[in-house]
């Protein structure tokens, strides 16, 4: 568990990080969201001591991060940068093996780990001997992620990791990112200014402004229980889409009609968002899709209209702003 307490960092007269405290649970994906200049990157870089705070403390599993040499701390924390920061004079294989070689892993172990990551991140083995400039932006970012994961660190820090990618590549990598087993066990702290990305990847979001955290909570909490106008305003532009993504089928399960035919089509799990379910409609007459609630193994078969109606009933029940 990462615990940040009363963290302060000023650059000249500007307070980049102004007395921030928060906690990140093990295995949680915490997203620091905010506009540029809000202090989110400064905050992230203090976690692996790229920047030293003026005051305040950071502990990981109750141990202060200053208790060990900065190099040792960093070797146990993956770090992914926006512009990937790959070593241009190292091959892909060498780049991925940077931290294992610092930790003096033996050759065979390193090689098999590199191979494993190449497969998990959908890179080809042909890329191993290539240099970073020979890869596409998406491939470079995958290598950057592989490098951060190589030594299997329990914590992963990501600074706008997908910020430099085009939309198509980004949404593809988002899907891979969510599907990656290895990441599910890790504590991830990710910085982004992209609300969509935050909502898609975060377990919890810390919305920042002017060096302070305005609100911390799950995407749904931010949407339906904003603490002030700033939070409301921040999400306003993409509200409908965010809501459809944030509201899970499980949330509206009770408003959906029971029963339905169990024909041989794929089942959509109730943990998915409404948005996900809507995407499955192909739009032909009397079309239904099948939803599965894993908790009680109940299957519901619903039409587009029934789904939307359930969603609107759920919305009505929410506290009005």
């Amino acid at each position: 568990m990462i615990k940040v307490e009363n963290l302060v960092k000023s650059f000249g007269t500007v307070k980049a990080v102004d007395n921030i405290s928060f906690e990140v649970n093990d295995g949680e994906n915490m997203v620091l969201l905010g506009t540029s200049g809000c202090g989110k990157t400064t905050l992230l870089k203090m976690l692996n001591r790229l920047i030293e705070p003026d005051s305040g403390s950071i502990t990981i599993n109750n141990e202060n991060i200053n208790a060990q040499p900065a190099e040792d701390l960093r070797r146990n924390m993956g770090y992914v940068l926006q512009n990937n920061g790959l070593f241009p004079h190292y091959t892909v294989a060498q780049n991925i093996a940077v931290v294992p070689s610092l930790l003096k892993w033996d050759k065979a172990k390193t090689l098999s780990r590199v191979d494993e990551l190449i497969q998990k991140l959908h890179l080809s083995k042909d890329h191993l001997d290539a240099y970073p400039h020979e890869l596409s932006g998406g491939q470079q970012q995958r290598v950057g992620l592989a490098r951060a994961l190589a030594a299997n660190p329990p914590v992963l820090l990501m600074d706008e990791p997908f910020g430099a990618l085009d939309n198509v590549t980004r949404s593809k990598i988002h899907d891979e990112f969510k599907a990656l087993d290895e990441l599910k066990r890790k504590t991830i702290i990710m910085v982004t200014h992209d609300v969509q990305e935050a909502f898609e990847l975060a377990d919890r979001i810390a919305l920042m402004d002017n060096g302070r955290i305005v609100q911390t909570g799950t995407p749904t909490e931010l949407l339906f229980n904003p603490v002030n106008d700033f939070v409301r305003g921040f999400l306003q532009h993409q509200r409908l889409q965010l809501e459809l993504r944030a509201v899970k089928l499980a949330n509206i399960w009770d408003y959906l009609p029971t029963g339905g035919r169990k024909i041989n089509t794929s089942l959509i799990p109730a943990t998915a968002g409404v948005w996900e379910a809507l995407k499955n409609f192909k739009f032909f007459p009397r079309e239904t899709i099948n939803l599965l609630n894993q908790q009680n193994r109940e299957v519901k078969s619903v039409t587009f209209d029934e789904l939307m109606s359930a969603y609107s009933q759920f919305k009505i029940q929410q506290p009005h702003e």
Binding site: R74, Y79, N84, G85, L86, P88, H89, V98
Partner: protein, 523 residues
């Protein structure tokens, strides 16, 4: 001029041994200094990327060093480091420093900050960041700096011969002094080729990709040390005494060649510039030097001239040589210049030289005092009837003579004067005269005979005995060949001479060149 005009190729063949030695010395000098410059410049360049506050200061100092003229820099070195390889290497390394420091600094500060940040964030410590990331990425830029430094060094190393450090400059400056184009080219062409070759090789190294460059960079120090060692190969011989001769003296029949053929003198010889030779003799870096019998430093440094008992040094009586055109254009010129004829004897000239060379009086002041003492000084008439252009070679005696002539012309005629002093050696001065860049300059009969006319050996031998026969011969030949007239001799004989420290000569009981030879042959 010669019965047989030697081709460059023949010259190089004939001098192959010397050429080889000089080339090795040249490469050696270049790379010893380069090696040291890298050893100093690279860490310094890295250091100032960490201490940005002093980077401006360090780069500024290195920049200033770069602007000091190379000859001046070599000159500064002599009082501190003497002559020979040491000062030459230090001077060369100072020139090589700036490109290496600057490119190291630029290369490292130019590394993509995201890559550096990633390296730190991966857990590389500061040395690992430097050696695994910053240096490899900055290497092409650093190599470019080393490449620049190498080419600069190959060029500046030609000047090393001025202070007895050898190298291809021996041929180049010897050739300029001796009016020997083949000799100049035999030094200049290999020097140019070396510069081009090293530039090419380093440019290839720079373009190698990252993988190959790692091996190349590891091999480079070894190669550098090997090349630097070349310098020491030729100097593996020695003798009891060390002689320092000017490049000009080395190549002349009435110089080292005559010493070897007529006297059979075998002495460990280094080539050195006239300007530092006397000082080196005084400081016991050299035992025997070539010099001029009227040199003021003879008196200043307590040196003694060895008697030329076999008469290999022909007379060098000084006289103004004038283009005939100029004599026509300036009818009063000849009469005026001849005012000086017979007035300056050997001892007078030595004294005048002593004042400029050792007492550091200006040539103008010395000239004025001299004319005053002879009651020849007249006030400047502010003449407007044309301008007489006086040339002089690049040493004190010629400056004094040029000043005396300038004052005489201004005082006795209606002409104005332009002096073009410091026209290098004989070749440059004489070419300036024949190409109508100057109207006259003081020349020496022996130089006219040997360096300009390049008279055949038999003729030289025949003429050598008497001063008048030499004068008459050159006067006749110059008139025929160049339309240049020798006016009346000034009086002194500034012949070549071998000299030693008075004290040492007395101790060893050496009075003549034959004595010197006998001493050297005693085992």
């Amino acid at each position: 001029m010669n019965e047989h005009q030697q081709t460059l190729f023949e010259f190089m063949q004939q001098q192959a041994d010397k050429l080889g030695v000089q080339t090795l010395q040249h490469i050696g000098l270049t790379f010893i200094s380069l090696l040291i410059a890298v050893i100093i410049g690279l860490p310094l360049g890295i250091y100032i990327t960490r201490q940005k506050k002093i980077s401006g200061l360090v780069l500024g100092i290195a920049g200033v060093l770069q602007t000091i003229p190379s000859i001046a820099l070599l000159g500064f070195m002599i009082p501190v480091l003497g002559i020979g390889a040491k000062p030459a290497i230090v001077a060369l390394l100072l020139y090589a420093l700036l490109p290496i420091i600057r490119n190291t600094y630029t290369g490292i500060t130019g590394v993509n900050p995201a890559v550096k940040e990633a390296a730190i964030a991966m857990g590389l410590n500061k040395w690992q960041v430097l050696f695994k990331v910053e240096l490899p990425l900055a290497m092409p830029v650093i190599l470019a700096g080393i490449r620049t430094a190498t080419v600069i060094n190959v060029g500046v190393a030609t000047l090393a011969s001025y202070i007895a450090a050898g190298g291809l400059g021996e041929f180049i400056f010897g050739g300029i002094s001796l009016n020997n184009t083949n000799m100049i080219l035999a030094g200049a062409i290999p020097a140019a080729l070396l510069a081009i070759l090293f530039d090419f090789l380093l440019s290839r190294l720079q373009r190698l990709n990252f993988k190959k460059i790692r091996g190349a960079v590891k091999a480079a120090p070894v190669l550098l040390v090997l090349l630097a060692c070349l310098y020491f190969i030729p100097s593996a011989y020695g003798s009891k005494l060390t002689a320092g001769f000017t490049p000009e003296f080395m190549g002349r029949q009435d110089g080292n060649l005559g010493l070897v053929s007529k006297y059979g003198l075998k002495i460990h010889t280094i080539v050195i510039n006239d300007a530092v030779m006397y000082k080196a003799a005084q400081e016991k870096e050299l035992d025997v030097i070539s010099g001029y019998s009227t040199d003021g430093r003879l008196k200043a440094y307590d040196l003694v001239v060895l008697d030329d008992d076999k008469k290999i040094f022909p007379p060098y009586y000084a006289a103004p040589i004038v283009r005939e055109d100029a004599l026509k254009n300036f009818p009063e010129l000849e009469k005026t210049l001849n005012l000086l004829s017979g007035l300056i004897t050997d001892s007078v000239m030595t004294d005048l030289n002593y004042r400029t060379d050792y007492l550091h009086q200006t040539p103008e002041r010395v000239a004025k005092d001299f004319l005053q003492s002879k009651n020849l000084l007249k006030p400047d008439k502010g003449g407007k009837n044309g301008i007489v252009r006086i040339g002089s070679k690049i040493f004190g005696e010629q400056y004094i003579l040029a000043s005396i002539y300038a004052m005489l012309i201004k005082g006795y005629t209606d002409y104005d004067v332009a002096t073009k002093t410091g026209l290098g050696g004989t070749k440059i001065c004489f070419d300036a005269l024949t190409n109508n860049q100057i109207d006259f300059y003081p020349e020496y009969t022996g130089t006219g005979l040997l360096a300009i006319l390049q008279a055949p050996t038999q003729t030289v031998t025949r003429l050598q005995a008497s001063k008048d026969s030499t004068y008459n011969y050159v006067q006749r030949q110059f008139q025929e060949k160049y339309k240049i007239k020798w006016l009346k001799p000034i009086g002194f004989n500034n012949a070549y001479a071998l000299m030693m420290r008075q004290k040492q000569a007395n101790e060893l009981n050496i009075k003549t060149i034959s004595d010197l030879k006998r001493y050297l042959e005693i085992k």
